[in-house]
Symmetry: C2
Subunit: 240 residues, 2 copies
């Protein structure tokens, strides 16, 4: 059975303007790979309602899971929850369960649960809350879309509470050979190997260090002995 | 007149598996912002022909420019050039001008221009070559799509040769206020400011450092005195 598939949607002007470097995509990619869920596509869009809705719909239709980051705070540019609700045709309002979480949190912290903060309790009808152990305001899962915060510490905590609930596939195993020769010298060897092992993904990731070209060749698959055999053959053929 | 728009397509399994952290998106985002070209969407897809073709078509239709990175080397998993050709219905083969560049380069370096390396001279009909001062094998522009290498040093060199040829818009100016208060405390002030300055983008990017929450508020626009006025008013209202 093929592994479940996933997409990620990163929401935020700050990423697209180059002001902030996204950190969540790389984190999620690694966690999904460990769990045997194949991340197939990532999209990054700005804080624009139409762009968010269209992307959510497109990704939700095509993949088993969609993970979003960003845009669920208390300020005027936090529009993700409303966009997700619209994408699914669900109603949205301040929900009692989320409100209760925030009330308790702000009572303990001595801060006021004002109108802005209360926006963080806007949760679409039918959604399940995602726990936020860092700052309480919850994420949520609606359909196959998991909506999480953009702040990396909170994003990571939310991923940690969502992923164990999902059915993973066979974890992807990989072995890497670092080859200090240009890709052009090893291409025919790689190509023959890829033909002989159609179930493995054999990728060549070139690098350039101090003017010298080389490549990391990564052999990936879910069958450990196949991965071993292909890597051993490659090392032998390239006389590593 | 609104600024030209752009999208980026990052191609490569190594990014989606979490093995490599993409560096090109952040670089391109900063360069486009300087030039007054608005990066509106980024997509990352794996080395999959259908995924690449569909993404190229969708982005090329919707934005003024599309920049791709990755998948133009000599190995079997380098399929970008062929996918771009198919997306545009253009024929593709080893082209004399690209071949001549490679012949000269490999003659000088004493390396063999073998069949694998010659694949890097496969350029769609009608495309213009993009100079590669680092390792010679060219990128190309076909229609509104600029196809560039994934290795960051080469990607950056190619961006440097493409961008000056594009018509930019008004550079986006921005000012940032770092505010050591939770977003919930400043949200209503920001919201009122955003209403009074509809031409500016006012973004709030929360952070959490040592358990303390704060936010970087960024005021962006192409009119410098408006950006100044809004930032000054915000600082005053928040008593910074």
């Amino acid at each position: 059975m093929p592994n479940p598939t996933a997409a990620m949607l990163v929401i935020g002007d700050e990423i697209l303007s180059g002001r902030t470097r996204d950190a969540n995509m790389h984190y999620l990619a690694q966690e999904l790979t460990k769990q045997g869920i194949d991340l197939k596509e990532v999209r990054m869009v700005s804080d624009d309602a139409t762009a968010i809705e269209q992307a959510v719909r497109a990704l939700s239709d095509r993949f088993d899971h969609v993970f979003t980051s960003g845009g669920i705070g208390p300020t005027h540019d936090d529009i993700t929850a409303d966009c997700i609700a619209r994408a699914f045709g669900a109603s949205i309002d301040v929900r009692a369960d989320a409100r209760a979480l925030l009330e308790r949190h702000y009572e303990n912290s001595g801060l006021e649960l004002n109108a802005a903060r209360l926006r963080m309790a806007r949760i679409p009808e039918g959604a399940t809350l995602i726990d936020n152990p860092v700052s309480t305001a919850p994420g949520f899962t609606l359909g196959n879309v998991h909506v999480m915060a953009g702040i990396p510490t909170i994003f990571q905590a939310m991923v940690a509470s969502v992923l164990p609930k999902l059915t993973g596939g066979d974890p992807l195993l990989s072995q890497t050979l670092r080859i200090n020769r240009g890709e052009g010298d090893i291409a025919s060897t790689l190509s023959a190997l890829a033909e002989d092992y159609p179930e493995l993904a054999i990728g060549s990731y070139p690098f350039q260090v101090n003017g010298v070209f080389g490549s990391n060749v990564v052999v990936r698959g879910t069958n450990g002995s196949q991965v071993d055999a292909a890597t051993t053959r490659l090392a032998k053929e390239l006389e590593l």
